[in-house]
């Protein structure tokens, strides 16, 4: 990894909500070979820890991210007044540079980390509500990347609720079509589907 991790109290920053994914940390190995590990984590037993991730995040966002690249806008290289189209275009240009598929092999690890940051910036700014919240924080001087993440998580939660509604509807549809066909004279497809449902509910 390019970035070092400085252990400190501020690392206790972030925890995920119980049902939601944690914020994307800024590290992933791209080659499929090595994974990020903390070598000198006091009391951490040398293992990879959840905290190392958030510590790393905090550091990346405050130390490197915020100072070197600043806000999500700076990360994507667009003005704060940039339109939705600007954001999408910038995201795709950045992806073409940093995605592990196209990055030079020796830089794959660092570029993957950047890609995940770009992905995070895009996900925040491409959503009007999240962008408004992020902009508000930004005007207060809180342009820390991760400060927006909790809202992304909340948003995700909302979205998954919306998803499960969809799934419920679909399940209902399936069930109805199943009942409709349960009386004799079943075609092959019907029998197979019936069998499948029976098997899956066993």
């Amino acid at each position: 990894m390019i970035l070092g991790v400085v252990p400190g109290n501020s690392t206790a920053a972030l925890r995920p909500s119980p049902t939601q994914p944690r914020p994307r940390p800024s590290l992933t190995d791209a080659s499929g070979g090595r994974v990020f590990r903390l070598a000198q984590w006091p009391g951490g037993g040398g293992g990879w820890t959840r905290l190392s991730s958030s510590a790393f995040r905090a550091r990346a966002a405050v130390g490197e991210g915020a100072k070197a690249r600043g806000s999500f806008y700076e990360l994507l290289g667009i003005p704060e007044s940039g339109s939705f189209d600007d954001i999408k275009r910038a995201y795709k240009q950045m992806a073409l540079k940093y995605h592990p598929d196209v990055s030079p092999p020796d830089l794959a690890e660092e570029y993957t980390r950047r890609f995940i940051e770009v992905q995070e910036a895009y996900e925040t700014l491409s959503d009007p509500r999240l962008r408004a919240l992020y902009d508000r924080d930004l005007t207060r001087g809180l342009h820390l990347a991760f400060s927006a993440r909790r809202r992304v998580d909340e948003e995700l939660e909302e979205r998954s609720g919306w998803r499960s509604r969809w799934q419920d509807q679909l399940a209902g549809l399936k069930k109805r079509s199943m009942n409709k066909k349960s009386e004799g004279n079943l075609s092959w497809g019907d029998r197979m589907r019936k069998q499948r449902t029976e098997l899956s509910t066993e």
Binding site: L14, Q93, Q119
Partner: protein, 645 residues
Amino acid sequence: MPLWVPERSQVAPAACLSPSPEAPRALSLFSSSSFLPLPNSQCLVWRTDLLVISLFRMAEQPYTVASDSETTGDDKSQSAFHDLAIGIEVGTSKCSIAVWNGAQVELLRNTRKQKSMRSYVMFKDDTSSGEASSGGASNKTAYEEKEILSGSAIFNMKRLIGRADTDPIVHASKNLPFVVQTLGIGVKPFIAALVNNVWRSTTPEEVLAIFLVELKTMAEVQLKRLIRNVVLTIPVSFNRFQQIRVERACAMAGLHVLRLMPEPTAVALLYAQQQQQQQQQSLHGGMGSGCEKVALIFNMGAGYCDVATTATAGGVSQIKAMQGCTLGGEDILKNVLYHLLPNFDSLYSNRDTNKIRSMGLLRIAAQDAIHRLSTQSSVQINVDLGDGTKMQRVLHQSEFEEVNRNVFEICEKLIKLCLADSKLAAEDINDVILVGGCSRIPKIRSLVLGLCKKEKEYEGMDALEAAVTGAALEGAVASGITDPSGSLDMLTIQATPLSLGIRVHGGGFVPIIQRNTAIPVRKSTIFTTTQDGQTEALIVVYEGDGKMVEENHLMGYFKVTAIPLAPKGTAEISVCMDIDAANTLRVFAGAMMLGTDRANSPFFEVRMPTLDDAHGWCAQALVKTHGSALDLTTIPKELQPQKVQ
């Protein structure tokens, strides 16, 4: 040059009689480096030998994975294309292979000049060379469809691979000419081909491996170089367990899988390239990143149906959402077969050779009728089933659509679900791309176009070649090939088609990575104990979108130890999931020290899936043995540790 060029008489007995330590090495040497790119007859002889060896080896012991990394690492050639990955699409029915030739993607043809080859492997008993086999890519004689359906050939392996004998798709394959037996005990189904009137057992992986060896040989002869890396297309609905089986079949054939690419995402990459080229032509080299175009890709082949939405600009295709299921031409064919011959099952249950033959004839006639119905409103079916019975009747398109109503309904649901997942309305879609053999069925075309409110589909893509072309493009891009004209400056940002998560107390499924999340990605969630003083916890990883674990696919499990003694609901166990660009899943988990943010002991890192075959009842066995003693649960929202700043 190969280090070791054996005579046939030496190798075959050694490999088949004694599973000596030498034998696997022989196989790996053979599979990875002995194919000389010389189109001479010797090459063919060796190939046959390899098949003999691999057949015996595969039959005897569980999958000696040919180690390709050690044997080929040192013979780096100067050619930039040495490691260029080729694209392969192994379809349920047809298969094709393509490669970036330096300027564009080129589809390879077999010796019969076919770009699209039938996917099957014929098992033959040849007294001179023992058992040998050959498939649609073989240089040897082409088998007619009639022979393929005689019971001696295995096909449809894409539908069978990685499935246990409890899987409904396996049950639905029982009326194929070869034997598929199930005992419902969660193990590999019994699959066998007829060789000299004896049923010889095999596995879908073995069949796929033999087939891939032939494809590899064919490509090596034509490209005059060794082939090592491949990008293989897979259906969207393949779970990680099925993906592992495909990778293993590739390893048996001496191929390294650079990427497994869901078919519609390969099509999306081709679309991105076409859009890019169009824009460059119209703008004369502006930034090449004009406005974003959204496309819905509908792919339906013989075995699977996939739907994906993609947003494309500047050569980058971003997958918004994917949906897929096991539904294809094979299901349509069966619906028609049962319509033509309602007692199909009982007629062919005894597997008499003559019956198998007439079943094959009927299949061919029905398949042909379905093809003709794409352009005609009714077709005449005339088939002599050979045992005195003749079938003569007319099949109307309306009849065809009625017996396949359930198929069309599922297609419709998939598209609606995919649009909802990607938060798109029909009006947001710029292009509708229809690919795969079944996209030629008029009813399916009108259905997809109707749902997307479009008059006509996107033009400029060959429905049968789009996926393999995209795979070859991905092969070039991911191999690091660049093109001065910029036609390889592109990318597909993949997404996970299925959610990944773990089992919690009560059998619920808690996703950690939601489906349709862009990859690479890393996410984690904190869980807590369900027992007082619980010191160990079982992390049971599932893939799928059901609310309960039994609706999803078990990927593996491992135990987290050294949880500090604490009342239930207070200890914290962190579970993190990481997917890299090559789609490899790793799960990290460990207990935290109470009240701190430090790990209590080193975290476990496990690559998933860990399970091999016969995992059918694993989950039940775990519950039976351990009850809820090792269960985890989510932390209630109000007790979640608050952000400290």
